[in-house]
């Protein structure tokens, strides 16, 4: 028989806990300081320009938003697909989803030319804009996930949480479709303009979200000395392997589709062969370090059983994910617009040349601040509310599920 799971707040009295809070708080303060400086001076202090209009803040923001929807998957697998092994993880999964989304939105909003006009973004809607839809999707996701969490955590309301889980699952798929479509629906730029980006972003979210989830789970249980059994961890890492492979498949289809169309050969050549930093990031960081190495580590018969190795694989997936978004976002803008096919183009406005971009320290600090904000929310939440089961030992969770592994 299954033992009743006991959720409990973390103690949060150790020096380590306060150092963690202080460290994250410092990073957030630095991020806000960078924002103040950028907004006061204007964006001329950043590496962004009229050629590369979206920079490092957008890489971080999109990364966090994509990871947020993916982090909810663990809860969905428990609720929607009825896998008992995942049910004890549902609360943390919902919490991470909310925290990562808020972190991402913080970065996105603080990079606007006019963050002070947030109220306008909330009150003026152009419903043809996928960006406007995303504002509704983000807010809806937050509201739905909060309700889902409440129904999960409030014993009296527990019987209603399943429908909320279904709604949250469908909503998160729509949300990531929206995020991918921000780029997929841009007809002007050759690196974007592909409907495939929507499902590709969904599968990227599966991978990034699960990697973040596993790292947070392992850190939380390790630092609080709570037991975390192999059954659950191995199940999660095997799933991560499947997601990494799925992302690789989508990346391959994306590039093959572009390579088939002659008009896109030059942009593919740029990313895959002679794009300098973008080519290096693509092959070395995204493909080798961020995909192939973690795949081997995860499925290796002995390395795949080592916890430091699993944690390293998760971290590599996240680094690879940041590289993937950097190549797509910045590389896609660096490649010149092809307005005059068959002509060599020159102008005072950098037409026909590869645009350069080097991220400023301010942009990176803002992005890191967003990550810190998400992690701080999680740290505080698990301290004050019952998100984490006291034990995730193999015997504490569903024994049948554990046996099946």
């Amino acid at each position: 028989m299954k033992l009743a799971l006991n959720y409990r707040e973390i103690e949060g009295k150790s020096t380590g806990f306060w150092v963690l809070l202080g460290g994250l708080g410092l990073l957030i303060a630095l991020g806000l300081g960078a924002t103040l400086f950028m907004e006061h001076s204007g964006h001329h202090v950043t590496g962004m320009s009229n050629q590369i209009v979206w920079g490092m803040p957008h890489v971080f923001a999109i990364f966090l938003i994509v990871a947020a929807s993916g982090a909810l998957n663990v809860a969905s697998i428990g609720t929607v697909f009825g896998k008992p092994l995942y049910k004890p993880l549902g609360r943390l999964s919902g919490l991470l989803a909310i925290a990562l989304l808020l972190g991402g939105l913080m970065v996105l909003v603080l990079d606007l030319g006019h963050p002070d006009r947030l109220i306008i973004a909330m009150t003026y809607y152009n419903f043809k804009s996928i960006f406007a839809w995303n504002i509704l999707l983000y807010n809806g996701f937050l509201a739905i996930t909060i309700v889902y969490l409440w129904l999960m955590m409030e014993r009296k309301m527990n019987k209603y949480y399943q429908p909320a889980g279904y709604v949250a699952f469908v909503w998160r798929l729509i949300l990531t479709t929206g995020t991918g479509s921000i780029f997929g629906w841009l007809v002007a730029r050759e690196a974007y303009d592909m409907a495939l980006l929507a499902p590709m972003f969904i599968i990227m979210s599966f991978s990034y979200g699960l990697a973040v989830f596993m790292l947070v789970l392992m850190a939380a249980y390790n630092w609080t000395n709570r037991p975390l059994g192999n059954a659950i961890l191995y199940r999660l890492k095997n799933l991560l392997g499947v997601f990494i492979a799925a992302v690789l498949y989508f990346v391959a289809v994306y590039h093959l589709s572009n390579l088939y169309a002659t008009e896109h050969h030059s942009v593919e050549r740029f990313i895959l062969l002679d794009g300098g930093i973008y080519t290096k990031l693509f092959w070395i960081v995204q493909i080798i370090l961020g995909s192939l190495v973690p795949l081997v580590m995860i499925y290796h018969p002995s390395i795949g059983k080592s916890r430091p190795a699993i944690a390293t694989a998760c971290a590599l997936v996240l680094i690879g994910g940041l590289a993937q978004l950097y190549v797509l976002l910045i590389g896609g803008q660096a490649f010149p617009l092809d307005m005059f096919p068959g002509y060599e183009v020159t102008s005072s406005f950098f037409d026909g040349v590869v645009n350069s971009y080097s991220p400023s320290i301010w942009e990176i600090t803002l992005g890191v601040g967003g990550v810190a904000f998400a992690l701080l929310l999680v740290t505080v939440a698990v301290r004050v509310l019952r998100f984490l089961p006291e034990s995730l030992e193999d015997s504490a969770i569903d024994p049948h599920a554990a046996k099946a592994d």
Binding site: G42, H43, G113, I120, N126, K128, F131, F340, V345, T346
Partner: protein, 255 residues
């Protein structure tokens, strides 16, 4: 206004219009060509979709090395130039509403040059993607940015196939009253909407004519008798990135 005044006014209007028609008929009698000039819109009258303002650029007449259109736009709208108020921005960050682009055909080596600005699309991608509706198209086809509700997200710049828009990276001074600009917002060619609404032509067109290049024509694309429509009917005109089906208001000849 008294009734007598009204009668006098209407009598005067009738006289003037008849006299004008006679004079006009006399002028075109030699049969040179029939065109109607752009007419001013009274300030209290709504902009309608009866007109669609457009530009035709004859690249065969556009002189290499001449940037009179660019300079005129800078002076008119207060961007760029020698006294550019974007002191801190680097070259990649400074705004450019209109730029001269040089094209060299790879196959033949033929070199041509043309001014490139907002193409005032009929279905502008910048308007589609703008989350707040700050990027908008007037009924008469002019694409503008409402600086009051632009949040500076730059999605329009990502969406524009012509790189026609600029983001302002710092505080600005000494702006023209008819061309408000501001840090943290996006801007682009307004087709000199302030002149057009008063019956004038954009500064770039005026400057090109003043240089006697006459490479730019401005007018109502819906008016069959306008010079731009007649030129387009006789010689045709191409759209840049016509494959996108945006039906641009700016057309080019000779590319």
């Amino acid at each position: 206004m008294s009734d007598t005044n009204k009668q006098m006014n209407s009598a005067r209007r009738e006289f003037l219009s008849k006299a004008g028609a006679t004079a006009g008929a006399a002028a075109i009698a030699p049969g040179v060509f029939l065109t109607t000039p752009a007419v001013a819109k009274p300030a209290d009258e709504k902009v309608t979709s009866d007109k669609r303002w457009g530009l035709l650029i004859d690249t065969t007449k556009c002189a290499d090395g001449c940037d009179a259109c660019v300079t005129a736009c800078q002076t008119e709208n207060g961007w760029g130039g020698a006294d550019n108020s974007e002191k801190h921005s680097n070259e990649e960050q400074k705004a450019q509403w209109i730029r001269k682009v040089q094209l060299k055909e790879k196959a033949t080596g033929h070199v041509s040059t043309l001014p490139l600005m907002c193409q005032h699309c009929e279905t502008p991608p910048c308007v589609d993607v703008c989350p707040t509706g700050a990027s908008f198209k007037r009924a008469d086809g002019i694409v503008l940015v409402d600086k009051h509700i632009c949040i500076g997200c730059r999605y329009c710049m990502m969406a524009c196939p012509y790189k026609a828009r600029s983001f302002i990276h710092e505080d600005l001074k000494d702006q023209k009253p008819w061309a408000p600009r501001g840090k943290g917002t996006v801007e682009s060619c307004t087709l000199c909407v302030h002149r057009v609404d008063e019956g004038g032509t954009p500064a770039c067109v005026e400057a090109c004519n003043a240089e006697s290049h006459n490479a730019m024509f401005f007018g109502d694309l819906y008016d069959k008798d306008s010079e731009i429509s007649q030129q387009l009917e006789q010689h045709g005109g191409k759209q840049i990135r016509a494959d996108l089906g945006l039906n641009t208001g700016v057309r080019y000849r000779g590319i």
